[in-house]
């Protein structure tokens, strides 16, 4: 009998994660906590210009310096230009895969682009040699604004005739006719900045050639399946490159692109020695992907009774120097442009342009947080015009199961946005009183919709192996990358539930392309959904074998066998039971498999020939609501967040503590986006190049996050789980933004809401209208 349909024993409980113990006792070896004998140190030489032609590179001085073993430039890379892949096993086509260039060749497209690689005996020698490489640049004007980049005659960032990376549109109904019927219309232009992930662990890895000649890379990554890209770059068969991901010190999308892997492999092959490379924080901020800045124009119309009738959206995003995941991210923005609302008439136009800024790619939320800030600002503006509370307006327009998105896809799973919003608002409790005459208090909510699982065009799949050992202990092997969300521990918990063994009896091997069945990427809020389902499938197969044998040994129908506490029991008969270990041994003796390798496939669909985005784009969506209460100091413009609530339908939590942790952490990511985080670039040069200028929230900046977790059981993940990693962050920033607008009576339309911007808005308001109310 399956575990479904009855009380869970392990699922949903807040049991301590199996990795937490190693981490607090300092036993976890991250990518940089690993030394091979004879290791060389690597350094990357990066472009000093955002836009330039490379006239010449002279490496002769550097190559002759003491301790130097290799100096590599583009010409030393067997296949310097490949197609950027992100672990997918199916080529979607349709422009989703762009150019990946390992080292700059002839032209540099952004400041910090890798130009040459050095390996030397010591890091100091590698750094000195990198400085001694003589690169002659011919600086070019460049283009730094995506809108300008799309104008005729703009500087061409790449080798193509146009800077356009991709363009998408959605059409539904008759937008103009609907606007003509609307009683109220709100309109605004919204801007969001570049963002840096600031995972605490910097990009890092070590590569070596193992005793069989396989290039082995142990690196901090969300995608071990970049091993195929590395092999393609080196011109090797895919089975001659192995990538291992140890525990990762945070990713948030920034380790979805290839980072150090190809550099390390090239240097290890050139030198025959192990090579180690770890970025500095400044290098990390300079050289890894950023969250996409967007310019978004939104127009929304509604009837007097608060029903949205039409939305017209135009957005432009900045890809920076190379496409990477920009087309995917923009597609997400387009599909989620209207958020969790019914919009019967819709027009979305979206474009993405290359510029000479740092390249942009995945960042927690993947295009959804940008548009969420815009549509949730519009919802509050509509509510104000209609004289409705923000909650009431939203309740009149939320999508429900069966309702269609703008693409025509009808939602299949549970949608509890109404409940999440009511809970979020309620959880704010009594309003806080201002602490001084120049402080104003405000409250806001924002609801979000975020996919979990990858684009259906990618034909995503995941694999897991589950097996008993002869002593009754259990092994799970799955190529998941554990980036801190408890990815490995969660599949242990699923296995514990199905096989009736304690968590401590289970060992999980993860993140190794040679030894663990490939499980795909830890991105797109897919790992629990995909690998959780694969693990569940494998564990249930093992369970069937064990229950079958137990039924035979105990003389009962296997359907009556329950596996619990390492024991096979007979339901309704307390007298009959067997230790699971005895049943496992009996299976092994009789040649009955006590392990299973299972594959789970997400829904597949091929890209259609259409100039519009239509139909199902993602496997499913998660819905939820954030609420915030803020205090704004009207003298300084400083915003203090007083209360934060994250209210989400997680479907079914696997580990309650981990799910709450995602809700709490994601919410704070949203607060950083709202108030602090802004990678400022001046003509492609990063101005906020360290953590004393790129500020992220500290414990002292924040209140506790109240996590309100609903469990509809209606998701597509294991036991009805939905993904929560990214959704937990998407609506955080607009909730804070709406609270600020409520407090000061002015709506800011550009993130982040720094004291300067808030103060400027207050002064403008003072000049144009009545003074700000000192209490609410």
């Amino acid at each position: 009998m399956s575990a479904q349909g009855r009380q869970y024993r392990v699922i949903g409980r807040g049991v301590p994660r199996h990795d937490a113990r190693d981490k607090v006792f300092g036993r976890t070896r991250y990518a940089d906590d690993f030394v091979m004998p004879g290791t060389l140190h690597a350094k990357v030489l990066r472009s000093r210009y955002a836009a330039a032609r490379i006239v010449s590179i002279d490496t002769s001085t550097a190559a002759a310096m003491p301790g130097v073993h290799a100096v590599l430039t583009a010409r030393d890379v067997p296949h310097n230009e490949t197609t950027s892949k992100f672990g997918q096993t199916h080529s979607a086509g349709g422009g989703f895969e762009g150019l990946y260039r390992v080292l700059a060749d002839k032209k540099v497209r952004y400041l910090g682009e890798a130009v040459a690689l050095v390996a030397a005996e010591t890091l100091a020698q590698a750094e000195a040699a990198a400085r001694a490489i003589d690169v002659t640049y011919d600086p070019q004007p460049g283009v730094f604004d995506p809108v300008t980049a799309l104008e005729p005659g703009a500087y061409r960032v790449g080798e193509e005739d146009s800077n356009l990376v991709c363009a998408y549109k959605v059409r539904k109904g008759d937008v103009e006719a609907a606007f003509a019927q609307a009683d109220v219309v709100v309109e605004g232009e919204y801007r969001v900045p570049f963002g840096d992930h600031v995972y605490l662990e910097l990009e890092s890895g070590t590569a070596w050639i193992d005793e069989d000649g396989v290039i082995t890379i142990r690196a901090s990554t969300q995608v071990i399946e970049h091993f195929r890209d590395v092999a393609d770059i080196l011109g090797l068969p895919h089975n001659r490159v192995r990538v291992i991901a140890p525990m990762v010190g945070g990713g948030f999308g920034g380790k979805e692109d290839i980072t150090v892997e190809a550099y390390l492999a090239l240097l290890a092959r050139a030198t025959g020695r192990p090579v180690r490379l770890t970025y500095t924080r400044e290098e990390s901020i300079l050289a890894h992907s950023k969250r996409h800045p967007y310019v978004m124009r939104y127009r929304t119309g509604a009837t007097a009774d608060g029903r949205i009738v039409a939305m017209d959206v135009d957005m432009v995003s900045d890809a920076g120097g190379y496409p990477f995941l920009s087309p995917w991210v923009l597609l997400y923005s387009v599909v989620m442009a209207t958020g969790p609302y019914i919009v019967p008439n819709l027009r979305v136009d979206a474009r993405c342009a290359l510029t000479n800024n740092t390249f942009t790619s995945a960042y927690r939320g993947f295009g959804a947080p940008q548009v969420c800030f815009a549509y949730e600002s519009q919802m509050d503006e509509l509510a104000e015009k209609l004289g409705l509370t923000p909650l009431e307006l939203r309740l009149r327009n939320y999508l429900h199961t069966g309702d269609e998105l703008g693409t025509g896809y009808a939602l299949e799973s549970a949608v509890l946005t109404d409940e999440t919003a009511r809970h979020a608002w309620q959880a704010l409790g009594e309003p806080t009183a201002p602490r001084s005459p120049h402080e104003v208090i405000g409250r806001g909510i924002a609801s979000g919709m975020q996919s979990y699982g990858r684009l259906v065009y990618l034909h995503d799949s995941s694999r897991a192996f589950v097996g008993f050992e002869l002593d009754g202990s259990v092994v799970v092997r799955s190529g998941v990358q554990d980036i801190g969300g408890g990815q490995a521990s969660s599949i242990a918990q699923i296995t514990a539930e199905v096989l009736g063994v304690p968590m401590d009896d289970i060992t999980v091997y993860f993140g190794d392309t040679a030894l663990t069945p490939l499980a795909g990427t830890t991105t797109a809020t897919r790992m629990l959904y995909m690998s959780g389902n694969a693990t569940l499938k494998a564990a249930r197969a093992v369970r069937r074998a064990v229950a079958g044998k137990a039924g035979e040994l105990l003389g009962v129908d296997p359907d009556r066998i329950d596996l619990v506490d390492r024991t096979a029991r007979v339901e309704g008969d307390d007298q009959k039971s067997l230790p699971i270990v005895d049943v496992v041994r009996a299976c092994a003796s009789d040649g009955i498999p006590i392990s299973d390798l299972a594959q789970f496939n997400a829904p597949f669909r091929d890209l259609e020939e259409s100039d519009c985005v239509v139909g199902q784009i993602h496997p499913d969506y998660t819905f939820g609501t954030h609420a915030a209460e803020v205090a704004v100091d009207t003298l300084t413009g400083k915003v203090t967040v007083l209360k934060l609530v994250a209210s989400f339908d997680v479907g079914q939590s696997i580990n309650k503590l981990s799910a709450q942790g995602q809700l709490e952490g994601g919410t704070v990511t949203g607060v950083g986006y709202a108030l602090l985080e802004d990678v400022k670039m001046d003509q492609g040069r990063t101005v906020t190049g360290a953590l004393d200028t790129y500020l992220v929230p500290t414990a002292a900046d924040l209140p506790d996050v109240q996590a309100v977790m609903l469990e509809s059981g209606g998701g597509k993940g294991p036991f009805g789980a939905k993904g929560i990693g990214e959704p937990s962050s998407t609506s955080g920033a607009p909730a804070v933004a709406n609270a600020i607008a409520d407090a000061i009576g002015v709506r800011l339309k550009q993130l982040p809401f720094t004291p300067e911007r808030v103060l400027t808005a207050l002064k403008e308001r003072e000049r144009s209208a009545a003074p700000v109310a000192s209490e609410r």
Binding site: A20, V24, G249, G250, G661, D692, A700, V705
Partner: protein, 164 residues
Amino acid sequence: MSDMREIEIEVNGRPLRTTVALDETLVDVLRHKLDVFEVKNGCGQGDCGACTVLLDGAAVNSCLTLAVQADGRRVTTVKGLGTPEDPHPLQTAFIEHGAVQCGFCSSGMILSAASLLAQSAGVPSRAEIREAISGNLCRCTGYTKIVDAIEVAARAELADERSA
């Protein structure tokens, strides 16, 4: 490689000798010369707190401390604070209350908290806890469960002291 000096640092009760340059930081010497990998380096500039250690019992950023400044002194890391067999209340509380996600900040976070608890007469307020760990960045947890864990550990320590 101008001026080198031999130093001795007591790391978690074990005296370790090594030769360092005068400008070498404590974090680099711990990690690269003494294999003390539980001390993390997240920025090298004193902004993130991942490299926090206790130097003679006080929390310091080991990336802003020169190795020579630690000569003849005691360095405590999470391995010295407690072990799986004899855990510090903070370590137990971090495990049980979900305060660990990626874990990269955990070592520094726990040591800053240990320093706070050592200085506090009673159970510090949540605001005091937040202030004490404000130099330790965490990007995963949103800090709520970390504050919970520190509060629980402070209560457990106080109870221990009273029963002792």
